[in-house]
Amino acid sequence: MIDLLLRRWATLGPGPWAWALGLALATLCAVPLAWLALGAGTVDDQVAAHVRSQVLPDAVRNTLALLAGVGLGVSALGVSLGWLVTAYEFPLRRLWVWALLLPLALPAYVGAFVWVGLLDVTSPLAQWARTQGWALPAVRSLPGAVGVLTLALYPYVYLNARAAFSRQSGRLVEAARALGHSRTSAWWRVSLPLAAPGIAAGLALALMETLADFGSVALLGVDTFTTAIYKTWLSLFSLPAAARLALGLVGAVGLALAVGHLLRVRHTAVSSKSLGACPRRVLHGPQAWAACAACAGVVALSFGVPMLTLLVWAVNLGWAQFDARLAQAALRTLSLGGASAVAITALALGLAYAQRLVPHPALNALARLATLGYALPGAVLAVAVVLPLAALDDALIQTGWRDGPLLAGSLAALALALALRFLAVGHGPLHAGLRAITLHMDEAAQSLGLSALQRLWRVHRPLLRAPLWTAAALVLVDVMKELPITLMLRPFGWDTLAVHVFEWTSEGLWALAALPALGIAAVGLGPVVWLVHQLESQHAHAD
């Protein structure tokens, strides 16, 4: 019977599969949100009025300022560093290429509590500065939050910008130069526009992460749209009002992405191999050292200083808290991250490939809907997932098939929520990667009689090596850093390292959180280094 159905499907070609996948993933994302917003009950008028007049004005202003600041910051850092390590040769360049990715292993909230510990009014440094009559910049402030989030999130842009720049052909720039453009003008008019789609994908990830962030902004005392959602839910006890705010947030993000898509210039794939890569210009003297110092400075601020600080805090406590519980948490963290990385990358590849097979605007819209979970605050997404699953559990128990919950509190529920949250992270690089492969490949392979799945496996997979590694590694580190979803949906005993960090920071014991935070960075470093290695060997092939 199943065989027969499958054969029937097969004769229809890949189209229905593509639509089914897009529809299924979009439904999975939309149902919990709609459930939350519509089913959670009525909104109390007094709460609504208060939120409108007292909470939202500040929250919206701060959120827009934060987005603008972080957007500018990560673009400036990510694009300039991506260009620097791709186009120029300078001391230690090969080291900086991968060291610049290291902040990916460090959760933004860990960076926030380290910088508060280092710079806030009570820190030893601030004390010393006061004796000198100086005042340190206020870290618990909007500029502080922009700084902390920029340092944590620039690698998303850097990774994409570097990939885009290194795919570019030197001949195009040469052509621009031959037409009389200066080097600077050629960069603005050729190199940057060609890299723009990749940069935009990285920027979108960084901005969605900024929107969803709660841990850092709460610590830094900046009221954003996300803190407004939490306040409405947890302090004003109105989950319905909070759900509507969350839906508004997702709607705004969806709209922004759609507008961005419309504005995006149609971009044709340029294969580097056919045109030849650009040789790196060798920098000399002060220029070379300035380039090296710029990379060193960014790596030091975004990774070196936080890691050293955590190490000092952990060593001061004498490693006494390193116990079996922590080792088990590290193992849980890795296995949860690994399994999610495989599953989410597979789903993301399926979705991106479906969009290639069926280039229909409606399917693109479904894909955008399916990846919106990345902009949602984690705890809101977690509640949204719990509600329908609990209802489903109840229905199963009503039928008499089960005598206890099957889904709520299971790994499956956790996996589903993590997939909804991080599908965008896997989808971005794969979607961009597939778009960079010319459609002639598919036509040629199809004329040789390869089915859609065979084309994916035998033609695209080898060409997608770098995007696949990128997607898997990003999902892996993101899941390992994730807190609110894991906290709410983990089954008994599935404490990850991030949960340990929470246990201490929730009590204000920052120093005790240092060791589990170092653990997150340590288990995250593996995938990041491995990602860099894969990307490097990819470039070696391309060269």
Binding site: H50, V121, G221, V386, D393, G409, S451, L453, E507
Partner: protein, 341 residues
Amino acid sequence: MSIRPLRPFRPLALLALCAGLLNAPAHAADPVVIYSARSAPLITPLFAAFTRDTGTPVQFITDKEGPLLARLKAEGRNTRADVLMTVDAGNLWQAAQEDLLQAIDSPALRAAIPAHLRDPQQRWFGLSVRARTIAYNPQRVQPSQLSTYEDLADPKWKGRLCLRTSKKVYNQSLVALLIAEHGQAQTQELVRGWVANLATPPFADDTQALQAVAQGVCDVTLVNTYYFGRLMHDQPQLPLALFWPNQSVAGSGVHVNVSGAGVTRYAKHPAQARALIEWLATPKAQSLYADVDLEYPARADVPPTAQVAAWGRFTPNPRNVADAGQLQAQAVMLMDRAGYR
């Protein structure tokens, strides 16, 4: 697309894999299951002692209060949770209000826990007490200059006050009780006065506020006693001291709050759940429960640990801690209006 015949074991293997992701059915020798907003390092030794004493195994999951309540509510009658354990009477009141807890008629608990530290309808019981009081820098402030919470709004404290964020439930409960005492208008003026006196924007936690006082960034702050205890335990040389406010105001006193527990409405093991809470109220468990976090035992006949006892005795505000819950949302809105972030 070419389809190979599906071998029968493939879907079976896939099913088995998926089943591993789902919940296993419950067994006869079930543990009592706890949803806890009190953090794991504080409750783990306690539950180990309970299991040693009674033979009943304990399973727990920790989270913040809000998500725990939301999860408990969503799971409804199918929840696996037998006991909800949380901090702050506001949260306990909210859980009872949402009908997530059941009343337990326990003479032992009624005898052990003073009436103002438990739900009048017996749905939750305070198990430890923390006082939210004034901490000051003795190098810069004489205790004679201090008197009440209300006095901290006086202009003489301008630029000398530090506070934790109004987003923390401890401050919401304090302001809720001030509303109960003084009414909305007067309390809002009072909170405005606090905000006007701030030396620096509100901190994310009590420890930072204490350190700011110790370093002279400001002179006074409001903290839960155990944060003071932890900091002084690590750095006893810090110039910090506690002051008990509102001691000579009739009907008032130091604002106290509780951490506590209740049996969930749909507990699968209500007898064991009740036994656990009753055990937590025994003198031995009360010491364990409170001492690990430098809190005060809820039982009047169990003395606090020596470090805590050294802070001296105080008159607590006699109002039932449950009152804070009712007024909590009002308190949050009032603090927003007063500009307390």
